[in-house]
Symmetry: C2
Subunit: 343 residues, 2 copies
DNA sequence: AAGGTCTCCGTAAAGGTTTAAGTTAATAAC
DNA sequence: GTTATTAACTTAAACCTTTACGGAGACCTT
């Protein structure tokens, strides 16, 4: 556990001042060629590495420190986002610090404050579902910290973000089912407070409208948590309250779709012959379900990656604003088509 | 974006020295009662928060900064570990910085170095599968950084760790199948270089041995990546190379088990009637598969949590060494028993 | 030869905090 | 009334960098 070398160590070794050493190592002006050479040589020998704390303190901003705030890290979609961010951050160049908001704006604010304490150079944030998050984002901006919103964006936010086109996602999912000849398409949607869920629902309605299919509210139920169990229960409810059996279901997430599977299989009905199912996210799960689940692709990895790239750009150039919306794309698998060609 | 208050601001406001302010806020000796009161009052008014950079620089160690290194964050098991760590770290008190090793010791070393640059007070590490990781762990210790190993431990490491009893996990999984009357139990194991996989395999053999069932190498195949596709292919291979059809499979992970399901279903065989299946990890997946998968529980969340708790203890008391091995527990579901009682 | 320019380097302050050591004034001891 | 003792401060150094500024010498210009 020997002490690490400092500028002073190099300076005394060469009998020059620390300022000279600093300039030599930072490629500044006002430095002689052979001095520079000698300094870099000694620095290498002593295995010198700058003290980031001192540098940050002096410059009044941490370099290469990126804060990430997600609702949760163990949710598959968010974990792939995190993975994408870390890929783009390039291990060893940028440092990622992370916080979980659990959709709690208070927690979110606490994390932001802690990040600010460490003088992060930027924050990637998926805001919580609550209105109070608007305030939190404003606070980040007020502190002069670069920020890019991820997945969920806010009306009050005019800065950078990366999001998915959930409206079109819902539209193409539903349209696909219509084009397969389905008439009674149920939809298990997400919580109304969640803009994403509302967008998908809007897409669902739009698809019905443009194909002249009457919207029936009895075919649409709302999930709160959007997990498997809820999907199962709500699908049971849909069966119960509709005289005409639905011939297709568009589920707001793959997890919900898994619950829908269970409900359908329990009734000895076949997927997709009796009821076609489409999920959302194209998670790992969609390949494991039997039959494999058609799902709207949501590539968290590349979303996280571009979020990080945008952030580094915005950090470099504070006045920049970059907004990106990912188009929706449907991964068609066995759960939604009769003719089973290899996907 | 106004500047944040410093000790100096408080000092000038009260006409005292910064040293006095510092002592007052840190509950040190040599401070008058009313001075202390006045200082805390002004500090509150100015919304003073210490500059962590300056504190760390002065103390030569970052406070409350914990480094986490995992092979990947988007693998379900590891993401739950991360979740557990963050729960224990208490948002807003400790800061988590994170790196992905991708099982690459070189990357691992780079991350460790970067963490050291930021003077982390401790590191939670799941070492890569390669021998070079031994060296990396030694490097952490050499630098005087507290460390606790997670999930995978090393022979050369005599410090703190948290791990699972994979030997017993493999043993009870296999024994369960034996007690269900299965005779020809196949095992798709993980890579030989992975100590965890070897332990589970050892447990498998031990169970066979103690129940006087002959070990057949043709029933055991090795997966490299341990994913669904490999599970599918290796299960096909097991079918192909054995005259006697196996009546049970113990898969090294739930993902592999999912592939096994596919292979079995493709042959129009039933689970568990024809072939019982047991997986490992008790991941979310095990509840979504049809039939639900029996799996050895591996609670990443609580493992991450205790890892973090142990780390904070070890940071407080450098001389301490805490080692914990989690017992194995089998979650029995439909995939391994004929009599289907509600689990 | 005096003045100007340029190169290369040193000095010192600054960034915010902690802390060892020194200072002052009041109190206690004799 | 002098001398310890103590409480409650202040001073200044230290942690490690960066950077504005100044200074010395070399070289060029007229």
């Amino acid at each position: 556990m020997k002490k690490r070398a400092t500028l002073k160590d190099i300076a005394t070794a060469l009998n020059v001042s620390v300022a000279t050493v600093s300039r030599a190592l930072n490629n500044k002006e006002d430095i002689g060629a052979q001095t520079k050479l000698a300094v870099t040589e000694v620095a290498r020998m002593l295995d010198y590495k700058p003290n980031v704390l001192a540098v940050s303190l002096r410059k009044n901003t941490a370099n290469k420190l990126i804060g990430v705030i997600l609702p949760s890290v163990d949710h598959y979609f968010y974990s792939t986002i995190l993975n994408g961010i870390m890929n783009a951050a390039k291990q060893g160049e940028n440092l990622i610090i992370i916080g979980e908001s659990n959709q709690d704006p208070v927690k979110e604010a606490a994390i932001i404050e802690m990040f600010a304490d460490y003088f992060v150079s930027g924050i990637i944030l998926t805001p919580s579902k609550h209105d109070a998050s608007n305030q939190n984002v404003k606070e980040i901006v007020r502190r002069g910290i670069s920020v890019v919103l991820l997945d969920r964006t806010l009306k009050t936010h005019s800065g950078s973000f990366v999001q998915y086109d959930d409206f079109n996602g819902g539209r193409i999912a539903t349209e696909h089912l219509i084009l397969q000849g389905r008439k009674h398409i149920a939809h298990i949607r997400g919580d109304a407070s969640c803009s994403i869920a509302s967008e998908r629902f809007r897409g669902y309605r739009q698809a019905l409208l443009s194909h002249n299919i009457k919207y029936r509210s009895s075919l649409v139920l709302s999930a709160q948590q959007s997990n498997e169990e809820e999907g199962y229960l709500l699908m049971n409810e849909i069966f119960a309250k509709n005289d005409v059996r639905p011939d297709a279901v568009f589920a707001v997430t793959d997890d919900v779709a898994a619950g829908v599977y269970r409900s359908i299989h329990q009734r000895k009905l076949r997927i997709p012959e009796d009821i076609a199912v489409v999920g959302y996210s194209n998670s790992k799960l969609s390949n494991f379900l039997n039959p494999k689940l058609t799902s709207v692709e949501q590539n968290g990895r590349s979303m996280g990656q571009t979020a990080c790239e945008i952030l580094t750009e915005v950090i470099e150039n504070k006045s920049k604003t970059i907004q990106k919306t990912y188009g929706a794309h449907l991964m068609i698998r066995e759960s939604s088509r009769i003719s089973l060609t290899k996907s």
